[in-house]
């Protein structure tokens, strides 16, 4: 932990509101990138983001600073997002319908916004990946964690992270290729 961050955490442990607020301000973007990367930009992501900070504040008395605050918060965000994915899986039928609707909307829009459409396609493709691939891609490519940090957050071996990254990217490339083929 850096010195100012250390001080913020110390004050947050004592329950100072300004310190809690500061932590949310510092890590909001990191948590948003993680949660939205995993779940897509749906209505429930805000709730998962809030819950991430609530859980972090609850666990503050046990936080001893062995890992970076960012890594610790990201781990909570990843776990909550993956749990949400499991919950969604139970409603798989509904999700499929939403996805089909999203793709249809995107196709209509793509005639006008082709550059934005590619990013859209990638975002949608990412949502179709299996959670284990999605998690490593979000942490490595969106949050910019190294493979070592990604492995630490997900409690995996670095070799596993590298292999999931490779397989995830290969699958994503295939999904996007299928989308383009389908569109044309």
């Amino acid at each position: 932990m850096t010195q100012p961050e250390d001080e913020i955490i110390r004050r947050a442990k004592q329950g100072h509101e300004d310190a809690l607020k500061k932590i949310i301000e510092i890590y909001e973007h990191k948590v948003a990138a993680t949660v939205i990367g995993i779940l897509g930009n749906g209505p429930e992501v805000d709730d998962i983001g809030q819950e991430t900070f609530v859980q972090f504040f609850r666990s503050l008395p046990r936080f001893r600073g062995e890992s970076q605050v960012g890594t610790y918060i990201t781990r909570i965000a990843i776990n909550l997002s993956l749990n949400e994915l499991k919950r969604r899986k139970r409603h798989a039928k509904l999700l499929d319908e939403n996805l089909a609707e999203n793709v249809r909307i995107s196709r209509n829009r793509s005639d006008q916004e082709s550059a934005a459409d590619i990013k859209n396609m990638i975002r949608q493709g990412l949502q179709q990946l299996q959670p284990e691939f999605k998690a490593v891609i979000v942490l490595r490519l969106i949050n910019g964690y190294s493979t070592r940090e990604t492995a630490e957050i997900l409690s995996l071996a670095q070799g596993t992270v590298l292999s999931r990254l490779a397989r995830g990217q290969a699958k994503l490339r295939q999904i996007i290729a299928d989308m383009i083929k389908h569109k044309s």
Binding site: E28, D46, Q50, F53, I142, A166, Q169
Partner: protein, 137 residues
């Protein structure tokens, strides 16, 4: 395409390769247009993933989160904390008391030849009336 080369290509994007592996990949890239194309696509895709990420929640996220954590810090919950502390303290007293009683009963049972059955379990026929008549009072 050679699976080994493909693995090296993917790995090269996230981790440094050994000198020998680097040379092998460079040679393969020089020789294969398809491999170069794949590498360009992957680099572009990774860049689009990084740049296209949404990195903010709805406006006023900080305020919403703060209002959500407020109830856990309200006075009502301070009472819960106080009650919890009392419960913890008295649990200790109760456990120690039970241990002492168990030890005393065991001791009495061990000396049952000297004690009547009632006295082993501290069951006395002493009433409050008799107690009050004692010279102490």
């Amino acid at each position: 395409m050679d699976t080994g080369i493909l693995k090296l290509l993917y790995r090269s994007l996230d981790s440094p390769l050994k000198k020998k592996e680097r040379l092998r990949l460079d040679r393969a890239l020089e020789e294969s247009e398809e491999l170069r194309q794949l590498r360009s696509e992957l680099v572009a895709m990774r860049q689009a993933i990084t740049e296209g990420a949404v990195r903010s929640f709805r406006p006023q996220f900080v305020e919403r989160t703060m209002s959500r954590i407020q109830p856990t810090r309200s006075p009502a919950n301070k009472w819960d904390v106080l009650l919890g502390a009392y419960r913890t303290a008295f649990r200790f007293v109760a456990i120690v008391g039970l241990i002492i009683i168990a030890v005393l009963i065991s001791y009495n049972i061990a000396h049952k030849d000297l004690l009547p059955q009632d006295a082993i379990f501290y069951a006395s026929d002493l009433t409050i009336g008799k107690l009050l008549q004692m010279p102490v009072f």
